[in-house]
């Protein structure tokens, strides 16, 4: 059942369409329950989409739909819900495409929605998390990695980093922005794959 929000009795102006009427608690729920599914969702989309350039955008669309739907009512089983939403987007896109690739259509018919048992993304414990973060840090470009290391490990301020690296604060900013964006991609879009450990 969908609950209708009734928060406008005091005559406050209605929020713009799509405006964030969310609470920090809702955002924390989304970050905890939905964001970690990105890697699994990307793998699923890779198997089921022809156009690799669209994967990220489909994933983003799916998250937006889940975000909006969950504000009205939170799904009881998050993972099947997210996958079902993504599947519908893929099916929609195929319907609108002029040529339907046969393999894709077949895959979608037999597609199994992942079960609700906690995936590796939920069982990562702190020690593995630290190793994963270290590995992600290693993959940043050299100067960017240096700036992130000084910020996150040494705890220096932007100004101190600039002085240490002999660059402007603006360049430090650019390195950190690149670092944050790349770390987010590695941590969320790639599978943790704990089983590959020796």
């Amino acid at each position: 059942m969908v609950k209708i929000m009734d928060s406008n009795r005091e005559g406050e102006p209605l929020p713009r369409p799509g405006a964030a009427m969310t609470t920090p608690e809702f955002d924390a729920w989304f970050a905890r329950e939905v964001l970690p599914l990105e890697a699994a969702l990307m793998q699923f989309l890779e198997r089921n989409c022809r156009d690799k350039a669209e994967l990220e955008d489909i994933c983003q669309d799916a998250f937006i739909k889940v975000y909006e739907a969950a504000q009205r009512e939170r799904p009881k089983s998050v993972k099947p819900f997210v996958f079902a939403v993504a599947r519908n987007i893929v099916v929609d896109r195929i319907r609108h495409a002029r040529i339907i690739p046969i393999e894709t259509a077949l895959d979608l018919d037999t597609l199994e929605i992942a079960s609700e048992e906690p995936g590796p993304e939920r069982t990562v414990i702190a020690r593995d998390e630290l190793n994963r973060l270290k590995a992600a840090l290693e993959r940043l470009p050299k100067r960017c990695r240096e700036a992130v290391t000084l910020r996150k490990i040494e705890g220096l301020s932007m100004r101190e980093i600039a002085a240490r690296m002999g660059i402007s604060v603006k360049t430090v900013d650019a390195h950190l922005v690149e670092g944050a964006a790349t770390l987010a991609n590695i941590l969320y879009a790639e599978p943790a794959d704990l089983r590959r450990k020796p």
Binding site: P15, R16, G18, A19, A20, T22, D27, F30, A31, L35, E38, K52, A53, E54, E56, D57, C59, Q60, F63, I64, Y67, E68, I125, A126, R127, E129, L130, L133, K134, L137, V148, T149, R151, K152, I153, E154, G155, S157, M158, R159, D173, L176, V177, E178, A180, A181, L183, A184, N185, L187, Y188
Partner: protein
């Protein structure tokens, strides 16, 4: 244009993510964040859920990256050890450092050799000539026997983890006050506090003996055994391997708590940090927490307490007070 180039072209999603990262760094890492900036950010977030989600995502990743702080070594390695060694050879300073310990427990004359010291929050690894390794935890002093006798060490204070290469002819011996641990090919952890000595054996075998006014006591330790010795008692219990692994998590800069009372977690944190966590309310002290947190960030614990139990955090110079 090759297909590879095509996929690397930023789509709308990648574009939003880059802008979110740019907002995040402005918000979290620059020092001049003003109220107007917050308004501007709120507007951007309200523009579309895509913006909001991208921001939540990069924010969560950036917060996770804070854990990397666990890798910080507060004191640069050799810069710190060298002056201490010089001091010690001068003799007088050694008495200063060791005085308290040896006045209280005159089992051995102050031994010769090299003294290795870590400060609060410090961590050091020593490799002996025979390949044995000793890792010193926070606020620890360990003396290593002189030439030819590197296989005798004295734990003056603190905690150390030993990974010892076995040598039948020269057993490795750790003295801690009136206690002696003789290794028989072993990995073990020794923690010395004012009134208590704790030895956890992870691998191999070790012999423990202790002398005090009441006579002497002995025990043989097997893997999984934890020995606790005080002035009046000696106990050995077998503990689950998980617990021993948790005890060693400081080696990777973490503290692991499983249903630990908050007051105990705070005490543990206070070993590693000059900024002390203070809890006076007994009701708060009893609250249990779980988690693995970076040892050198006391705020990691106070923030968790704040969020989990809705407690108040009061910052004072040198201390953080947790209250209702």
């Amino acid at each position: 244009m090759t297909s590879e180039q095509q996929t690397s072209q930023p789509g709308p999603a990648a574009d939003v993510r880059n802008r979110a990262a740019s907002w995040l760094v402005r918000r979290r890492d620059h020092e001049d964040w003003a109220a107007e900036d917050q308004v501007e950010l709120d507007n951007w977030l309200a523009e579309s859920p895509a913006n909001k989600i991208a921001f939540l995502r990069v924010n969560a990743a950036w917060q996770r990256a804070d854990r990397l702080g666990a890798l910080r070594t507060p004191l640069p390695k050799h810069k710190w050890l060298a002056p201490v060694l010089k001091f010690v050879s001068a003799g007088a300073a050694a008495a200063l450092v060791l005085g308290g310990v040896y006045l209280a427990m005159p089992r051995e004359a102050p031994p010769p050799g090299e003294l290795y010291v870590t400060g609060v929050g410090g961590r050091e690894t020593l490799t002996l000539r025979d390949g044995s390794k000793i890792e010193l935890n926070t606020n620890t002093a360990l003396r290593v026997g002189g030439k030819g006798t590197q296989r005798t060490v004295w734990l003056e204070r603190g905690e150390a983890y030993f990974q010892i290469v076995h040598n039948e002819a020269h057993p490795f011996v750790v003295f801690a006050g009136t206690h002696r641990i003789t290794d028989l090919g072993t990995k073990f952890l020794v923690r010395r506090e004012d009134q208590m000595l704790r030895v956890s054996l992870l691998e191999g075998k070790a012999q423990f003996d202790s002398k005090n006014s009441r006579g002497s006591q002995q025990a043989t330790l097997n893997p999984g055994d934890v020995l606790v010795a005080t002035a009046k008692s000696l106990s050995v219990t077998e503990r689950p391997s998980q617990e021993l692994a948790d005890e060693l998590s400081w080696r990777s800069g973490l503290l692991v708590f499983r249903h630990a009372p908050l007051v105990q977690a705070a005490a543990e944190y206070n070993r590693y940090n000059l900024k002390k966590i203070v809890i006076t309310d007994p009701k708060i002290a009893e609250l249990n927490i779980n988690g693995a947190l970076p040892a050198n960030d006391p705020h990691a614990l106070t923030r968790a307490a704040q969020r989990l139990f809705n407690l108040r955090i009061e910052e004072r110079p040198g201390e953080i007070i947790i209250t209702h």
